[in-house]
Every structure is written in structure tokens, then in C-alpha cells.
Symmetry: C2
């Protein structure tokens, strides 16, 4: 579908993507975390897209199994170019998952690899 193509393009053209809602503190935490790591993610505020917002949110749930925001993606190397777009492969998770990776030191690694690519 057209919306699926939009997501594919967004994820393939941006090393770090956060689907967010502008009023949400969990989303703010994730955004400032990336800012702290010196990376500017592409942020998509689902509450600022009119009717397309809920459509995107449901489609993201279909692709990743996650309905909630923040919904975080980081581009990761996949050796087989035929499987470049697997949202599951890029999907980091929500606020808690992102913070977990950060505390383990893994988030910084993933981000620098994605940005370098």
C-alpha cells in the first residue's frame, strides 16, 4: 500500500527514526537521549498528521507488533541486500527498550554504525 511504501522509504533514508506524539514525555525522553548522543533522529509526530496519524500507528503495529509511542527504528546492517527492508530488523522498540540499550552501551554503537553507513 502507499502508506507501507512511505514507511519503507522513511526507514531506508534515515538512520534513526522516532514515531512520536508531541505531548508525550516518554517520547521527549527518547528524543533528548538521541540528542545527548549527538544524533538528530527523524521525528514523526503522529498527532500532527490529521487522520493519517492513527492510520500510521495501526500500520506500525502490523509491521512491528508495537502500537505504542515512542516507536524507535535504527538502521542496521543486513548482509543480504534482498532482505534490506525488514522492519523487525530495524525496530528498536519503545522508551524502555531504548533506555535499556543505552545503559548497556549498545545504543551508542548502533547509532554510530547507522549514521556512518
Amino acid at each position: 500500500s502507499r502508506l507501507e511504501e512511505t514507511i519503507k522509504n522513511t526507514l531506508s533514508q534515515n538512520p534513526v527514526v522516532v514515531y512520536s506524539k508531541s505531548w508525550c514525555s516518554y517520547c521527549s525522553e527518547v528524543k533528548s537521549l538521541f540528542k545527548k548522543l549527538g544524533v538528530q533522529p527523524l521525528v514523526i509526530e503522529l498527532d500532527e498528521l490529521g487522520p493519517q496519524g492513527p492510520q500510521l500507528q495501526k500500520l506500525l503495529e502490523r509491521i512491528t507488533g508495537q502500537y505504542t509511542v515512542p516507536n524507535v527504528f535504527i538502521e542496521q546492517f543486513i548482509s543480504d541486500p534482498k532482505v534490506f527492508f525488514i522492519a523487525g530488523g530495524n525496530h528498536i522498540g519503545g522508551c524502555t527498550d531504548t533506555l535499556k540499550l543505552y545503559r548497556k552501551g549498545d545504543l551508542e554503537t548502533l547509532v554510530s554504525e547507522a549514521v556512518a553507513k
Copy 2:
């Protein structure tokens, strides 16, 4: 106004009150914190009240200076009965304020005093 009276009654009849939104993780954190302290706050989900929700939220901002959720109140002793209802006197704050008090050990004290009253 009628809505102001509603808030006054709510705050005077319940030792712990949380104005919340059902989908919000900051609100969930505050709710489970009180549950951990063994107290069941009165929770008012502003997103489940139809048009009254936004009205309440604006009125709470007028009374406390705080527009955001969670908006936490704990009944506190005020020696002069003439000033029993001063929302500023009962107003704890949001998620961050509540967590700060919890880590200092003050939240538990405030809650047990309010519940005992």
C-alpha cells in the same frame, strides 16, 4: 463555578488524588508508585470524561499552575480550618515531582499522614 466545587469536593474527600490520562506512561508510573506504597488513589482519567476532560484540565491549570498530567494531590494538614481548601497546599506536582519526594522518603510520610487523617 460548579466545576470548581467538584474539584474542591474531590480533594477534600480523598487523601490521594491523581488526575491522569489512561494511555499515558508517566501517569501509569505514578499510579504504580502509590500502589507500591499500599495506597489506592482516586484516579480521574481526563480522557474518559468527554468534553469535561479538557475543561477540568484547564481549570486545574488555573488552580495549580500545572496543565500537564499526571497532576497529583495529597491531603495535608493545615492548622487554620479557614484555609482548608488551598489547592496549592495539597498540590504535589507531576510525575517527576512525585518521584523526587518518593526518593527523599517524604512521599511515604505524606501519604500515611493523609490516609490516617
